[in-house]
Amino acid sequence: MRSKTNKRYARRNSKLTGWRLFGIYSLLLVISIPFIFPTWWMFTASLKPIEEVFVFPASLIPNDFQISNYAEVFRLQPFLRQYWNSMFIAILVTIISVTISTMGGYAFARISFKWRSKLFVVLLSALLMPAEVTLIPIFRLMVKSGLSDSFFPIILIPAFGAHAVVGLFLMRQFFLDFPAELEEAAEIDGLSRWRVFTKIALPLSGPALASLAIISFLYSWNLFLEPLVFLTEPNKYTLPVVLPQFTDTYGAPIFNVQLAATSLSVIPVMIVFIMAQRHFIRGITMTGIKS
């Protein structure tokens, strides 16, 4: 009995081999198709002449490479400008939201102040708030103050709105597991609470800060509804707003050029992800929900 148990236990922990491994690989490979194929197809179709995009049989690799699709992207739209807009806004949003979420998360995790737990529950309601609900009054306010066709709401909403609460939640989760002894020792040495935060806690939270920064950057980079509602001039567009607008004069999309623009917006993010994917996923797991 005992030896049988040991064998089964050993099986649970040992690496899979043989047919079981083969089975799992084939299953996973089939399931991965809808996750990988779109990216592959986007990139290859962006290099095809327009007649080849929907040709039968569909080609996995372009028969005819047409790099000029990419030049066309910059001819049809002020794409460089729009790229810069997205970048500039995302960087600002990241700096602001990481700063305030980290401070807030630390306060909610480590400092007891009045109504702390009640305030936290109220804050959490922001996680569930559909963007459409809050957008109407904010839109009204921005139109009234003449800020609607500017970057102001596009930075303000993701940096200080519901997304900052998500960041606060993640950082609180991270700081809850922070060893209290370090802080106590520092306080005995006479450091103020603020200094404990900046001198002790912050230097030790690099990985958590990095994953929060990545989440914030992506959130802003991919934001669609708010820029779509607020921005009206092509020169101010961000990438998600301009991508659906690669159309001819009749409003029909120019497939290959649109996919070239889409590739340009996705590829840098993909490269960073592929290089950092281990840290990325581990960071989200770490700051994420453990219980």
Partner: protein, 288 residues
Amino acid sequence: MRHWRTGLFMAAPVLLGFIFLVLYPVVSVIRDSFTSYNPLSGDAAFIGADNYTRLIQDETAIEVAKNTLIFACILVPVNMALALFLAILLNLHFRGRTTFRAIFFSPVIVSTVAWTIVWKYILQDDGPFNYFIGLAGVDGPNWLRDNPWPMISVVMVQVFKNLGMNMIFFLAALQGVPEEMYESSEIDGANRWQQFKKITMPFISPTILLVAILTIAGAFQVFAQVLLLTGGGPGLSTTVLSYYIFINAFQIFDLGYASALAVCLFVFVMGLTVAQWQIRTRWVFREV
């Protein structure tokens, strides 16, 4: 308590942001829902519950509410079941599991707009999807035009986009189940399925609850997919509440009516969350 000043000071920016960008708008949208506010006509009169009576009589709104429910009822179970299944597979020990984790996670980092644009091409009548299933002898429908496929297409595109996030949450939870529990249950002669039911599920139930709450809330916010994939059509078949609010608010500028719709969406999401929280004791083994 002696640091309460520092604490409040540090939390202040997020708290203020919350007050001005979440709390104030919610109060304000409730107030607006009782007005005929329209920036084009300059109208902003108090009209009582007119928007709500209009809403009940609006056949489009009823249809839209139905679509929203259908969307959520397919999306949430499919997303969570597949995410949990993949998490369990990728929690096994074998070479290449981190690569597969990365593959399933990768759509999460792609913008919804880019993801949807590409899928729109893939699902065209003469697109690659129909071509490849044609090789297997299947004559595919027009996925974005022939009912009921447009709704299913929108759901699946969304599932593939966001499943990776839930998978990672589940993986983190699975890694937290103590190995000794499995060991001792094996000594008691439990099989794999019993272990899953009696150990794994209870242990990860708090995560399941959290993922359920977030996935349901997310399902009611689906917007870009509908706008870019089907435009709400054919007919109204894929028009969901958040998209309908967008049209009323920012295309027809009927902000009063849109506010009433938004209040309904808000009540819907909050109600569901509270309901889930209430029944948590029944199926959540440990307190969060």
